[in-house]
């Protein structure tokens, strides 16, 4: 292991240990596990399409858990490090600011991965139990590839949000502004496809609006569409997966965004004063 990787791993280990001993995080994990188990009760209230609704419930819960982790634990760790001057204790060691950013990212990503692995396993178990308990007409198939792809998509989206939080933490001082700006970024990413759809419908009715359409297209480059990594509707349905090349392209693009945001975060941290 090279020196830089060793230092990044040492910091990531510190973040993982700190996270695993944090009561709030342990509470979140327990709550998520309990909520996943709740899928076994939830499906009883669904009159039809139980497979689709249950998988949707499980993946949405996992998204919510990841969301809470990112915005309440991730933001706290990164921004509070600076507010409480923990960053001084860490950067007093022979670790560069870029390594600091990557170490914090790797540690939080490791925790996210652990959380998602746990929920993915539990979710699989819950879906198998539900499938056995209901008639085939309500849950006729379970597709493993879309299930795994859904989790992979979920983790990739969460990693992208984490890199965005790191970037904003470098640009803005204070945990609350970072939380607000990161939430706004997420809200725009989620809302933009809806706006684009509305504009395209209006275009079909009233004619082309090139300025608005171009602006929205460029905005998509900054605020990527998370729906492209969402495969949960295919877990229990006969809908075939999109073309492999398209899937790879979407994942590749999102991972490139993670790399770009991390690179920018390293650049910002390297240049600024830590006051």
């Amino acid at each position: 292991m090279t020196g830089a990787l060793k230092r990044i791993a040492a910091l990531a280990r510190l973040v993982v240990i700190d996270g695993l001993r944090r009561h709030a995080l342990l509470g979140l994990i327990l709550l998520s596990v309990a909520a996943q188990a709740g899928a076994l009760l939830f499906f009883d209230f669904i009159p039809r399409d139980i497979g689709r609704a249950s998988s949707d419930f499980i993946l949405s819960l996992a998204w919510l858990s990841g969301f809470i982790f990112l915005f309440f634990h991730g933001v706290q760790i990164i921004a509070l490090d600076e507010e409480r001057k923990v960053i001084y204790s860490l950067l007093a060691r022979p670790i560069s600011r870029g390594e600091y950013v990557l170490g914090i990212f790797s540690g939080l990503a490791g925790l996210l991965l652990l959380l998602n692995l746990l929920l993915c396993g539990l979710g699989f178990g819950a879906l198998m139990i539900i499938k056995q308990m209901v008639a085939p007409a309500y849950f006729n198939q379970f597709n493993m590839a879309p299930y795994l792809l859904s989790w992979f998509g979920l983790v990739t989206m969460e990693l992208m949000l984490l890199s965005v939080i790191l970037l904003f933490s470098g640009l803005v001082r204070g945990s609350f502004p970072v939380l607000l700006i990161s939430l706004s970024f997420y809200a725009i990413c989620s809302g933009l496809p809806v706006v684009r759809e509305a504009v395209s419908q209006r275009t079909a009715r009233e004619g082309a609006q090139p300025i608005v359409e171009n602006m929205l297209q460029w905005m998509t480059a900054v605020f990527p569409n998370f729906d492209r990594l969402d495969f949960k509707n295919m877990i229990a349905s006969s809908t075939s997966l999109p073309d492999l090349l398209l899937i790879l392209l979407n994942f590749g693009l999102t991972i490139s965004y993670v790399g770009l945001f991390l690179w920018l975060a390293c650049l910002v941290y390297q240049r600024r004063d830590l006051q």
Partner: protein
């Protein structure tokens, strides 16, 4: 060991506040094996000078050399031990976690990390509390934990920001004797403190800062003589008083 040449630093203007000059054309140096005490009232620029040395902030003008290199070269910090004024650690970690982290980043072998950790934790009276989360430590214990972390990699240069902060009289006496031992071993030490008696007892030379400017650099008894006072403490107080008038 340290060369600070005509360094100026102004903190950028915050909303509703004016830009603030923390250091203006300050120069000083620290030679090998020397102990330099940096003193001054609150807002004199002591913490700014230390933050500049640790590369937490960057100077507007002037140059800083630390062990012959610029502070921006992070690798040199494996030869530096830094003790911050207020010890802040990730809340749920133990002192052992922080020592392991320090050892890994300084590229120390695990065996050496274990040996050095035990040596310093026993010396600083933290061995029995080594597995307790740092958040449960008293302020004095946190300060001693920080000392153990700063000394783990056997640094050539020690930068100590208020090392007696939060210590009870017994802890203070213990840290004073530790710094005296380190000085005797030939380590170069830069430390700032509000407790002038400690400074007088420990340092070879003293640097007096006031509102971001250097008022004096030299031996404590020279300061007393220049000010016509019987001791260093009174000499310092008169110097600052004259400057304020």
């Amino acid at each position: 060991m340290i060369v600070f040449q005509q360094v100026s630093k102004t903190y950028a203007r915050d909303l509703g506040a004016q830009a603030h000059t923390a250091l203006a054309d300050v120069s000083f140096s620290l030679d090998k094996g020397e102990t330099l005490g940096m003193i001054g009232a609150n807002g004199a620029g002591k913490s700014t000078a230390i933050k500049l040395l640790m590369d937490f902030i960057r100077p507007d003008s002037g140059s800083i050399a630390l062990l012959g290199q610029t502070p921006a070269q992070h690798a040199i910090r494996s030869r530096v031990g830094y003790l911050p004024e207020i010890a802040n650690f990730p809340a749920n970690l133990t002192v052992l976690d922080m020592l392991r982290f320090t050892g890994s980043t300084c590229n120390m072998e695990q065996r050496n990390v274990r040996t050095a950790s035990e040596k310093w934790l026993r010396r600083l009276g933290l061995w029995d509390a080594k597995k307790r989360p740092l958040r449960n430590y008293s302020k004095g214990m946190q300060q001693r934990a920080n000392f153990a972390i700063a000394l783990l990699n056997d640094p050539e240069l020690l930068i100590l920001d208020e090392p007696m902060s939060g210590l009870d009289p017994i802890g203070r006496a213990d840290i004073l004797s530790l710094i005296t031992d380190l000085k005797r071993q030939g380590r170069s030490i830069l430390f700032c403190s509000h407790i002038l008696e400690d400074v007088d007892r420990l340092v070879d030379r003293v640097l007096v800062l006031h509102k971001g400017t250097k008022l004096f650099e030299g031996q404590p008894n020279t300061l007393a003589e220049e000010q016509g006072c019987p001791n260093f403490v009174e000499g310092y107080l008169r110097l600052v008083e004259e400057e304020q008038q």
